[in-house]
């Protein structure tokens, strides 16, 4: 499959107090046209950094190696007008909508600015299109909303506005960085359903970042699991529960609370998540893994294709099918 987005061995180092620390160490990922890919993992595993690398929003002084191709074009070396043209083909929905909108500009200004500036659409026409799209995202009285300011809207409503804004420029790729984490639970499901429906309707590719394995499973075609700046497993979203290919995924699945089961204490993964810069020479997950052997400590596994997905585990083949059951008993 020729992907819309192809990350190949992406390594990103950030400057932390004078020294460079890796935050991504060899991320490889494809997103096809119209495909939704979930990216899950614990905090600090590099999910957001992956999305920000694609949008070229890395902090100052970041060092990037490896390649990011979008529709065949190398993104990491884009500059000036080319970079702006590329950014118009992608859109990003952020975790906290309130922080990502200029608080002193009206919703109308915010929604129509891109159309008016980049595409020369007259104001009245841009507003008409914005009102139409607000209706699509479930905000019926768009004309009035356009005159309101961000502080007058609730978080859920503002996130809908952000989604409308993301769709207004008709992008090819949507980067959704935990779009529902800052919202309350009922609003979350509304916003998620909306995002899912609109994306399918428009054949939009999406990179969906979340902590929520189940959510990723519900809206994504494929799911990639990140740990310590690397993708450790990647396969069809619905197979992740039943047939995890990496012990880390299996442990995540086991740690998820189950509404039907009564448990005295939730299962947890022993130890703490590692950041990419702390990763040992061997497998990054080795010292928390119930299946680790001596060679796991010394030999760094590569992301190897297995079944319909891929896994970064030395024992992936031999553990296949046993992971799910064994981990929940640990």
């Amino acid at each position: 499959m020729s992907g819309l987005v192809e990350l190949d061995g992406l390594e990103v180092d950030l400057r932390v107090g004078g020294s460079m620390r890796p935050v991504l160490s060899g991320t490889t990922l494809q997103i096809g046209r119209g495909e939704a890919v979930g990216l899950v993992g614990e905090s600090g595993s590099g999910k957001s950094m992956t999305a920000r690398s694609i949008a070229r929003l890395l902090p100052e002084g970041a060092e990037v190696r490896g390649s990011i191709r979008f529709d065949g074009t190398e993104v990491t070396s884009l500059r000036g007008a080319d970079l702006r043209a590329y950014r118009r083909r992608i859109a990003m929905v952020f975790q906290d909508p309130r922080a990502h909108v200029n608080p002193v500009r009206s919703i109308g200004d915010f929604l129509t600015e891109e159309l008016r500036t980049n595409e020369g659409v007259p104001r009245a026409e841009a507003e008409r299109r914005a009102i139409e799209l607000l209706d699509v995202v479930g905000i019926p009285d768009g004309a009035r909303r356009l005159r309101q300011y961000p502080h007058e809207l609730s978080g859920g409503l503002l996130q809908r506005v952000m989604i409308a804004s993301a769709l207004l420029s008709e992008p090819e790729l949507l980067l959704a960085d935990e779009p529902t984490t800052a919202l309350d639970v009922t609003t979350q499901s509304d916003v998620m359903a909306l995002l899912d429906e609109l994306r399918r309707e428009r054949g939009l590719a999406m990179l969906f970042i979340t902590h929520d394995l189940e959510l990723a499973g519900a809206v994504c075609d494929r799911t990639a699991v990140m740990y310590a700046g690397q993708i450790v497993e990647e396969q069809a979203a619905d197979a992740l529960y039943t047939d995890p290919l990496h012990p880390y995924t299996a442990a995540l699945v086991a740690a998820r609370p189950d509404i039907d089961a009564t448990a005295a204490r939730l299962a947890a993964i022993p130890g703490r998540p590692l950041s990419a810069f702390e990763a040992p020479p061997g497998c990054a997950f080795a010292d928390r893994c119930p299946f680790s052997e001596d060679r796991c400590e010394s030999e760094r596994p590569a992301l190897m294709p297995i079944a319909a997905g891929s896994s970064r585990c030395l024992r992936a083949e031999e553990l296949r099918g046993r992971l799910h059951l064994t981990v929940s008993d640990v």
Partner: protein, 294 residues
């Protein structure tokens, strides 16, 4: 969950749309409003002063030297025998126009440097900061004296020299604010939308620090006025017989020694009233802009 209708409207509280407006006088209190009124009056006099002045600056008769107030001459005469009230009214123009040139020029320079520094960061920021620090070491008056020596003494020369001397001060304050604003996430969101840096700066970044820009400009006006008066006092700014409050303070000093301080006092009082008003207003605008910064 994807079966849920995507068009569920969300109830929200209906509120009056807030008015953004230009940085006005809201929240500056009675003092702020009084100061603004005094400044408005001063600017009005600067504009229409020549129409109000009953006599011209060159209507001099030495026989009236240091004569006190009379029926036609409400403030009496200067040491050179000109009408004091007329001189004050005529002098308002250059005394206020000068600082205005300084403020506008210094603000434009300062804002541009601050924005470039904050936006580009890294080596560009470091180089600009070093240049600004070097300029910062030059006292404004010293630079104005140098400029007067090279380009000849005039109000324009002095004003431009002061503007260059003040720009680093403005740039330094605004750079910090611009860096803070630059790091806010809505700027990143705008970048992803494919807007150019200049557009984001002009439409979003600069307007969002405009409160601070106005406040700094107001405070600078007071400093510039005192400095320009001082430069005129030592004879390197406005050249007599063009009327100017700073020049009047200088010319009145012989009168002070002879026991007739009216000219120096009156011109000095005008300077003090305007500068105090500007500074009080500037302080209040500054406090307000920092209070509103989240």
């Amino acid at each position: 969950m994807s079966a849920m209708p995507a068009t569920t409207p969300i109830e929200t509280v209906d509120r009056e749309p807030s008015v953004r407006g230009l940085p006005g006088l809201r929240g500056t209190g009675i003092v702020g409003h009084v100061c603004a009124a005094i400044l408005a009056l001063a600017v009005l006099i600067a504009i229409v002063g020549p129409l109000l002045a009953p006599y011209s600056a060159t209507e001099i008769s030495l026989s009236n030297s240091f004569v006190g107030p009379t029926g036609d001459h409400y403030l009496g005469f200067t040491g050179q025998g000109a009408d004091l009230l007329s001189l004050l009214l005529l002098g308002a123009r250059s005394s206020i126009l000068g600082p205005l040139i300084v403020v506008v020029a210094a603000m434009v320079l300062g804002v541009v440097v601050a924005i470039i520094s904050a936006w580009r960061g890294g080596i560009v920021d470091q180089v600009l900061s070093v240049i600004m620090d070097v300029l910062f070491a030059f006292p404004g008056i010293l630079l104005a004296i140098l400029a007067a020596a090279v380009f000849g003494a005039s109000l324009q020369t002095a004003a431009i020299a002061l503007a260059i001397a003040y720009a680093p001060y403005i740039a330094r304050v605004l750079r910090a604010a611009a860096i803070r604003e630059r790091s806010r996430e809505y700027i990143a969101a705008l970048e992803v939308q494919g807007f150019s840096a200049w557009l984001i700066c002009l439409r979003h970044l600069v307007p969002n620090i405009s409160g601070l820009i106005v406040a700094q400009g107001t405070i600078l006006f007071g400093y510039a006025m005192v400095d320009l008066a001082a430069i005129s006092y030592i004879g390197l700014g406005v050249q007599p017989p063009q009327p100017d409050w700073g020049v009047m303070v200088a010319q009145g000093q012989s009168g002070v020694l002879q026991g007739y301080p009216a000219e120096s006092l009156a011109a000095g009082l005008c300077i003090i009233i305007v500068v105090v008003a500007v500074n009080l207003l500037g302080e209040r605008l500054n406090a307000r802009s920092q209070g509103s910064a989240r």
